[in-house]
């Protein structure tokens, strides 16, 4: 059976396709070096509009209003621009309430897009542009350590990694955040209260790599202006030992956290990257693997959720689980020495 892979790798080539959701302009060139927050492509997509019903405002028919309208499609109009003037001794006039661009004129009406229509695509990782995807984006490659998470709040930032989690099951509390941590990306444990997020925001930190977060804090975490990446998920879950070990041994190094929102269909997921110098490109990790004895795995569900272990054996056919259900399963030896029977669908390969 094919196994999903969660990348926690000390040194690997990281190749990421970064594309706009729709056509736009690519701003980078082949072989260009990029930083994580660099805009590599942009597009325009206005999400705010004003519809001026000139005919109704001037109390004329749409056909008459058409003739009175002075602006045309694609005109950039400052606020208070005269759009149309009626007839008579004291003619009424229609003016633009805000600055914008005319997108439609017709039927005695004018539709103006207002606000900033720009959509920017950031590189998301430090690296080199290895391919241009015309009108959509680019493929960026780098080498370094990679830790993938399971949830992100959509922000990107780079900074110095500081480990303040003394162990994988540490809890980050507000009074642990002092001024010496300002501008750092923190490897911290789990967050259980809003005060901690507020304190991190006020400091401010540049990012948080957490094991888990209480579900009630998700809306607040989404509002934070710095990236938050969770390695395990929601509730009070310790960080898996592989991620903790890799990140904690890279403390004091420059790290990029791209807390991309997890999208199971596109494959986008949050990740932390520590760029490392290499002479040759290290191998690219597999995206899928086949379950087999000896593979290092991570437990996705209880028992021992989040724990690292290795597959000892995969019995043929269906195996009775402790719950009583029957499913294709593996015998797994956990890092604490315990052996458990786990359904294959509850496992992911670490590598």
């Amino acid at each position: 059976m094919q196994a999903p892979v969660n990348h926690i790798v000390g040194l690997t080539s990281i190749v990421r396709e970064r594309i706009l959701p729709f056509s736009g302009t690519v701003l980078v060139q082949l072989n260009q070096k990029v930083s994580p927050n660099e805009v590599i492509a942009e597009s325009n997509w206005a999400r705010e509009h004003i519809l001026l019903d000139v005919a109704r405002l001037l109390r004329v028919t749409p056909a008459v209003a058409e003739r009175l309208i002075k602006i045309k499609v694609d005109d950039r109009v400052p606020a208070n621009t005269e759009v149309a003037v009626g007839k008579g001794l004291f003619p009424r006039s229609v003016r633009t309430p805000r600055e914008g661009r005319v997108v439609v004129v017709g039927g005695g009406q004018v539709l103006i897009e207002v606000g900033d229509p720009k959509i920017e695509l950031h590189a998301g990782l430090p690296g080199t542009v290895v391919e241009i995807i015309p009108n959509r984006g680019a493929v960026i490659q780098t080498a370094g350590a990679l830790v993938q998470g399971i949830w992100g709040n959509g922000r990107i930032e780079s900074g110095l990694l500081v480990n303040i989690a003394e162990s994988p099951n540490g809890v980050l509390v507000a009074n642990r955040l002092d001024v010496s941590l300002r501008g750092s990306i923190l490897l911290a444990g789990m967050v259980k209260d809003a005060e901690t997020l507020k304190a991190a925001s006020e400091l401010p930190v540049r990012g948080l790599i957490l094991s888990s977060l209480y579900p009630s804090l998700i809306p607040m975490a989404r509002e934070m202006r710095f990236p938050i990446m969770l390695t395990e998920g929601f509730g009070a879950l310790p960080m898996n030992s592989a991620a903790y070990k890799l990140l904690s041994t890279n403390a004091k190094r420059e790290i990029t956290v791209n807390a991309e929102i997890y999208d199971r269909y596109s494959g986008a997921r949050p990740e932390a990257i520590i760029q490392l110098p290499t002479f040759t490109d290290p191998p690219i990790p597999h995206e899928v693997d086949d379950f087999s004895p000896g593979l290092q795995i991570r437990m996705r569900r209880p028992p021992a959720m989040g724990m690292i272990g290795s597959i000892v054996a995969i019995p043929r056919g269906l195996t009775m689980l402790p719950s009583g259900l029957r499913a294709p399963a593996a015998e797994v030896k956990l890092e604490n020495g315990e052996t458990v029977i786990v359904p294959l669908v509850n496992l992911e390969v670490v590598g």
């Binding site: 059976m1 999400r47 949830w151 998700i218 929601f234 269909y265 009583g324």
Partner: protein, 585 residues
Amino acid sequence: MPSSLVDGNSLLAVDVGAANTRAVLFDVVEGEYRFVASGTAPSTAEAPLKDVSEGARQAIRNLQALLGRPLLDKQNNLITPNQPNGSGVDALVVTISAGATIRTVIVGLLKDVSIESARRLTESTYARIVETIGLNDQRRPDQQIDNIIRMRPDLLVITGGTDGGASRSIKKLLEPVGLASFLLPEEKRPAVLFAGNEKIGDEVRDMFGPLTASLHLSPNVRPSLETEDLEPAQRELAHIVVGIRKRQIKGVDLLDQWSDGHILPTAYATGRMVRFLAKVYGSKKGILVVDIGASAALISAGFKDKSTLNVYPQFGLGENLPGLLNYTSLEDILRWSPLDISTGVLRDYLYQKSLYPSAIAATKEDLAIAQSVTRQALYLAMQSARRDFPRNIATIKPNLTPLFEPILAGGGALSDALRPGQGLLILLDSLQPVGVTTVILDQNNLLPLLGAAASQNNILPVQVLESGAFLSVGTVVSPVVTAKYGTPILLGKLTYENGVEARVELKYGSLETLPLQSGEVGKLAIQCLRGANVGFGPGRGGTIPVSGGALGVVFDGRGRPLDLPSDPVRRRELIKKWNWTIGGE
């Protein structure tokens, strides 16, 4: 046009679900169609493979390993038709429920008329209504435009106006909708289904034709104020959904090609089967089909004159799980649990499980939570679906579940249940059937696949249905009565074919069973006490023929609506007792 399957002997059916893809072979055995075997593999709509044909191929490979005959050639393409050496199949049908929920904007005139029809139409597939535009909308047109743009819909469902009726209002409503479509990036413009006043069809074509590559017009869902006809629009919607999936998910086009166009949304195929069953087996009672899995909960009911089909992605047990809390409370979910589980643990479960929808319960605690969530989700789905049932249907009490015969249940959450009894208890708790009904488990989730095949080969579904491919759980007797806990409410006497008799005294608040094996029949004499009603009238009994099943005849005396004790300790003890009686644990 797809070619007919009537001449085909062997039929391969592939169901691409959110979590699993199944390949099922139907073939002629001793002159009749039979379910032969099925192979399952994890679905591959999601990253990293992002190609549903990979999961389909793996499921077919697993099936061919069971069959001992190749169905795929060396290039991994389907061998069709069936070859003289036994390899391949004559035809393929596909159903699909995988894919993100389809974001839909509905447009109609009046809230209780065309907008209501648009809602029902949209709820017949894997869609979520993200915006409603109607005549009584107080927002400015530019606010409506911006909202539609922000929602980035996949689909616009436009209704409104009776045939030949006024058209000005609906045309006015279409202006902001058309403008919003125009303003969306070309590759993100939604598909459009117009099912309103047929008189303005040409104008709709003129307005939306240049804006979308997928414009569909169907007969009016509301040809007159009093009449609603969703079926033609549902058929059109099914084609649109497949088109959207082709655009969104790689591999759907290949399955479409292999199946020669015989690909349908799973829900639509199920609904088609319910209509078919209602016609073939219809009685005074309705036919109920329920299905609950990772992508959605589905309730479809077939009555003499009308069928309903409701798909609720918000009650699916996968990625939408945290959203369940918009419709219910943690406490209401936990009322079904036999174990003492805190609300915090449940909340964490809902969020964490949404990250890994295909994961299954490996521990007893996880299973208790999973089954509690299943009960509540199915309960909510049933409560929602009841709103759309026709008025003139057989009931014991108007506020209770109507009378159904049979109830057919499928979906991952039920077919994964430990034992048939556990599946039955989940159904009794969530659907709360009344009177006398047969409960059948679709353990192999065949029903939608039969529905997909039905329009091309109407012999196959009938023969497979009658072949024993479905698991009869048994006959359930659920009296409607008000009584004190422990009071006798019904006496039952089951007479077996050999003349032997078995008796039961059902007390309020309890569950009882009388054994009657699958394939056996018997006569059940019911005597109702304290005004209990099983469909013959208050306090009236009768004798009815019953057929056996895995659990024989089950008597559910727990009251309707089901009355759970408010004391948590007592409630958990009772649930454990019921689990022991029916679930075998």
